[in-house]
């Protein structure tokens, strides 16, 4: 569950990226986060992963109030969330296998289980057999799917994606969105930031629309406290 209660984020210098944003995304739901460039989509996602902290208001994720979450508890909290980035954030010197295995190593999973879990994640994104390749040997779409495999390999309860289809063609873009829907179907809470209305219409999922930091459109009333 992700809940924002009257959240404002002001950056040093005075720019307000989010203004009095309130919404609630129940556990197991999927929603799109949309808005024009600079509307505050990335800031909203950063608040959920605690890359940034709210200036005002409360952000609650999986029953944890992030405004009060101490720094030392951040790593354990972040392990509950899988994040997919537009620029993939893969490690170019490590193989596909090593990139996908990284969250398992970080979380202290048994090295014996790692190959099985990595292969399962790669299988889900259709990249089984490319474990030994390096990210730069793959296409943009394949790199994005490695990023998705890395985000889901620990089976997180929440999956966030920031413009995951920004650098891929239309067909690949549909495949990636279908993957998110698939993960949502098995109970993962999914929030995808995108400005491509085509996906929103095709998947028919609720939308959170940001405009100049304000949440101007949100899903059904039952989502709002």
């Amino acid at each position: 569950m992700i809940a924002f209660n009257d959240v404002t984020k002001r950056y040093p210098g005075g720019h307000e990226a989010l203004k009095h944003v309130s919404f609630k995304l129940p556990a197991g739901e999927m929603a799109f986060l949309t808005g024009h460039s600079g509307a505050g989509k990335s800031t909203l996602l950063k608040l959920i992963v605690v890359i940034e902290r709210a200036t005002q208001g409360q952000v609650v994720v999986n029953e944890q109030n992030l405004t009060r979450l101490p720094r030392r508890k951040l790593p354990r909290f972040r392990r509950q969330i899988g994040v997919v980035f537009q620029d993939h954030k893969l490690l170019p010197e490590q193989t596909v296998f090593e990139n996908v295995a990284l969250p398992l190593v970080v979380s202290g999973y048994s090295p014996k289980d790692t190959p099985r879990r990595v292969r399962a994640a790669l299988d889900k994104v259709g990249l089984l057999g490319k474990e030994a390749m390096f990210p730069l040997m793959l296409s943009g779409g394949e790199q994005q799917r490695v990023g998705i495999a890395r985000a889901v390999v620990t089976r997180p309860s929440i999956l966030l994606a920031d413009e995951p289809t920004g650098n891929v063609d239309a067909a690949m873009s549909d495949d990636i969105m279908d993957l998110f829907r698939l993960f949502n179907q098995v109970g993962t809470t999914v929030l995808v930031a995108t400005h491509e209305l085509r996906h929103i219409e095709r998947l028919g999922k609720p939308v959170l629309c940001l405009d100049d930091g304000y949440l101007v459109d949100r899903p059904a009333d039952q989502w709002i406290d």
């Binding site: 392990r79 994040v83 970080v106 202290g108």
Partner: protein, 314 residues
């Protein structure tokens, strides 16, 4: 039942922890060889830095050993006043002292004969009307009292005796040698501290560069829930390994230097009638150097990582 389950879980957790640590250690060591030239230069720089105090330590240790070698054979010559005809009474009195091992009495005739034999002035001494030499007592100290303090105490007391005209000993020379050795020891400490700091600076700078070159990786690891401890680990191993390899290099360099000096020094001390052999780094000293190098490497990387890691956030 719960107890067994809990113990099994904890044991497997510990095994996983150790396995992960071992993998990180191997990986960190392997990463040292990647920019091979740079890593080798760093290790050599650490090696030279550690070798300097190690070499000075070996030199002062050898001088110290030489001094002790002298001390084991400490002796004092008592030249008696001319009117002493028979020193037996004095000899017996002194012999009763606990610090004295034995006393050899050298008669004036024996003294003159030795003088002629060893001084090279045999003809000159023939010109003398009478033997000018007095009785001499050569006092040999016991092994446990062959130290500067005991010898000096004896000299002070012997000089007060009415039968004794003059006291001769190498104690002053030994005092100076001991002072030089003491300065050398202090110098070893000062150098060790200064160059130890240099090792810390070298390794912390290397680790800082390694952190900067892996900023992207650190950001990603923090994003997916990596703790500071997890991120720190490879850098700590890297510092430890660099320090340890630097120490091994220092041991090798010191040994090479000592071996290069061994022959000429053995020849030099041989000229003074000594069979002293140059002593190199012992296994214990090499072990201390290894512990020091790896410990400094660990401390330096811990310090550097602590300083720079908090600045990197996703």
């Amino acid at each position: 039942m719960m107890g067994i389950w809990w113990t099994a879980r904890r044991t497997s957790g510990l095994i996983n922890y150790l396995k992960n640590n071992f993998r990180v250690f191997v990986r960190s060591t392997a990463q040292l060889t990647r920019p091979a030239g740079g890593a080798i230069m760093t290790v050599v720089a650490i090696g030279i830095t550690l070798a300097l105090p190690a070499l000075l330590y070996v030199v002062t240790d050898n001088i110290d050993q030489l001094g002790r070698n002298w001390e084991t054979r400490a002796q004092v010559n008592l030249f008696l006043v001319k009117n002493v005809e028979n020193p037996a009474a004095l000899q017996a009195r002194l012999q009763s002292l606990k610090e004295i091992d034995r006393i050899d009495a050298v008669s004036p005739d024996q003294g003159l004969s030795d003088f002629k034999k060893y001084s090279g002035f045999a003809r000159a001494s023939d010109l003398l009307d009478a033997n000018p030499l007095p009785w001499t007592l050569v006092v040999h100290f016991t092994r446990e009292h062959s130290n500067i303090e005991a010898v000096q105490r004896f000299i002070d007391r012997a000089a007060q005796l009415p039968e004794v005209d003059n006291v001769r000993s190498d104690v002053l020379w030994l005092k100076r040698l001991t002072a030089v050795v003491e300065i050398g020891h202090r110098l070893v400490w000062v150098l060790a501290i200064l160059l130890g700091l240099a090792v810390v600076v070298i390794i912390s700078n290397t680790v800082r560069l390694a952190i900067l070159s892996r900023t992207h990786e650190i950001e990603v690891i923090k994003l997916i829930g990596g703790t500071d401890r997890f991120i720190r680990r490879p850098f700590l191993y890297q510092g430890f390994v660099q320090g340890a390899l630097g120490a091994v290099t220092a041991v090798l360099l010191t040994t090479i230097c000592i071996e290069a000096l061994r022959e000429p020094i053995t020849g030099l001390v041989g000229e003074y009638g000594s069979g002293y052999r140059l002593v190199g780094l012992s296994w214990t000293n090499a072990g201390v150097l290894f512990a020091l190098g790896s410990g400094l490497g660990w401390v330096a990387s811990r310090w550097s990582v602590g300083r720079h890691l908090k600045d990197i956030e996703p």
